[in-house]
């Protein structure tokens, strides 16, 4: 399983774009928002938590369709399914690799982009905490969506349609956590809910993803 993780990370690095594209997309979203809503600092500061979360979420979505598609095309998915590691483990590792190459860079870059949007001072800590807690759930759920659409030719758009509604609770609690942090309000409830959703997703969703892969390979 560790071999699979290193292989996926190595592939992401060699293919290029693994780290870069998601981040660049995130930056573009953050850049475009002021053009849309105007450069006024107060407005930007107020919507910054939501925009940063939304940008991270969309950047996460970009690379989802590649999680299984490449392995499916070159036949490695068949071979992995017959290999002596459980398919649940394979999909978990795939999700972890996706998080390391997409989610983690977003978490680290988010405070920098927060400056661009005049994010209030106390919110930086909560921004990093919420993204750190929330993005693993995004990767795991995205892996589920990718597993459902792995055999399809025009899977990309469908994947977004399937995955985005699943992102609703994570987005709500994540952005709420930052917003409360920015306003100095009590953060315990959204913090615990966000952590709970991520923990449950990481624990349970890989079983659904593995089931979907098995059906798709049949």
């Amino acid at each position: 399983m560790i071999a699979l993780l290193t292989r996926d990370l190595r592939l992401a690095v060699r293919a290029g774009g693994g780290f870069g594209l998601g981040l660049a997309f995130f930056l573009i979203v953050v850049t475009l928002v002021p053009f849309g809503v105007g450069p006024e600092g107060g407005v930007l500061a107020r919507i910054a938590p939501g925009i940063l979360w939304l940008g991270a979420l969309l950047a996460c979505l970009l690379s989802l369709d590649r999680i299984f598609a490449l392995d499916f095309e070159d036949g490695s998915l068949d071979l992995l399914a017959t290999a002596p590691i459980p398919l649940e483990g394979v999909v978990s590792v795939k999700a972890a690799a996706h998080w390391l190459t997409t989610g983690l860079p977003l978490v680290l870059a988010a405070p920098v982009f927060g400056v661009l949007l005049h994010l209030p001072q106390p919110a930086y800590f909560w921004l990093v905490v919420s993204l750190m807690l929330g993005t693993p759930a995004l990767s795991v759920l995205g892996t589920f969506g990718a597993a459902l659409t792995v055999g399809l030719k025009r899977g990309g758009l469908l994947l977004s349609l399937l995955v985005l509604p699943l992102y609703v609770p994570t987005l709500i609690f994540g952005a709420e956590l930052v917003r409360r942090g920015a306003n100095g309000m009590d953060t315990q409830v959204p913090l615990l809910m966000l952590a709970g959703i991520t923990a449950a997703c990481v624990a349970v969703v890989p079983f659904a993803s593995a089931a979907a892969i098995r059906v798709n390979l049949r």
Binding site: L148, L152, L162, V168, P169, I197, N216, R218
Partner: protein, 242 residues
């Protein structure tokens, strides 16, 4: 004789063709009487005006929107566990009906909300949840459409329905937490009839019965179509192989 006998497509076709006229007549009867009674024979409510009459469509469609998803969840589970094709096809047949019900609930809600709250749309928890439910219906139907192999499609949509149900429920609570709303609480419950006076209550009950029967009628029709289409596909496939 067990209930699973109806899972046999042949048996299902026989029974449904026998039952269809009854539920059709029942649906048309209930809806005609209920809607006419509700629209023309009930007084206008003091604080709602004539807009109150939209409840005869709004409440039943909203109830059905949720119940149809629950029905899809149950039939998906039956397919995943017992592999009865009719069950999967019934879930497939129900989805567009549920989607339309959700849409009707949203639109009639907007029509009601405009004079009452002064806005067509409000990001109220109930409204938002229905919008999310609508998205789930769309995704579910899109996945059915996208996959060629009917058994693969049935399996994958079944898994999606399971996961989706959990997240639809989770979204409901998340949305509640996110924004406390304008929407009034449930008007209908069996033990709290005093919320709504009898004048409105009886036609509403008739309309709800009408919507349930309408759903059953449409579901039977659509499931019969799906079974025939599935049968045709199996025959074509065998033709090609022979």
């Amino acid at each position: 004789m067990s209930i699973w006998e109806y899972a046999n497509p042949k048996k299902f076709m026989q029974t449904s063709s026998w039952a269809l006229p009854f539920v059709t007549v029942g649906a048309v009867g209930c809806l005609a009487v209920g809607l006419f009674w509700g629209f023309f024979l009930t007084p206008e409510a003091t604080n709602f005006g004539s807009t109150v009459k939209v409840i005869y469509v709004h409440v039943p469609s909203a109830m059905m929107a949720i119940n149809i998803w629950v029905m899809m969840l149950v039939t998906s589970l039956i397919w995943l566990i017992r592999r009865h094709h009719v069950s999967a096809l019934a879930a497939k047949a129900a989805a567009p009906i549920g989607m339309v019900m959700t849409l009707i609930a949203l639109i009639t809600g907007a029509i009601w909300g405009q004079p009452m709250w002064g806005t067509w749309w409000e990001w109220d928890p109930r409204l938002t949840s229905f919008l999310i439910l609508f998205l789930f219906y769309l995704g579910y139907m899109a996945l059915w459409e996208a996959i060629d192999n009917p058994d693969t499609a049935a399996d994958l949509t079944g898994v999606l329905c399971l996961v989706g149900s959990v997240f639809a429920l989770l979204s409901r609570y998340a949305v509640n937490f996110w924004n406390q709303g304008l929407h009034q609480g449930a008007t209908l419950s069996l033990d709290k009839q005093e919320n709504i006076s009898d004048v409105y209550w009886f036609p509403l009950l008739l309309c709800i019965a009408g919507f349930v029967l309408l759903f059953v009628t449409l579901l039977l029709l659509r499931t019969r179509t799906e079974i025939r289409a599935r049968r045709l596909k199996a025959l074509e496939q065998r033709e090609r192989m022979a």
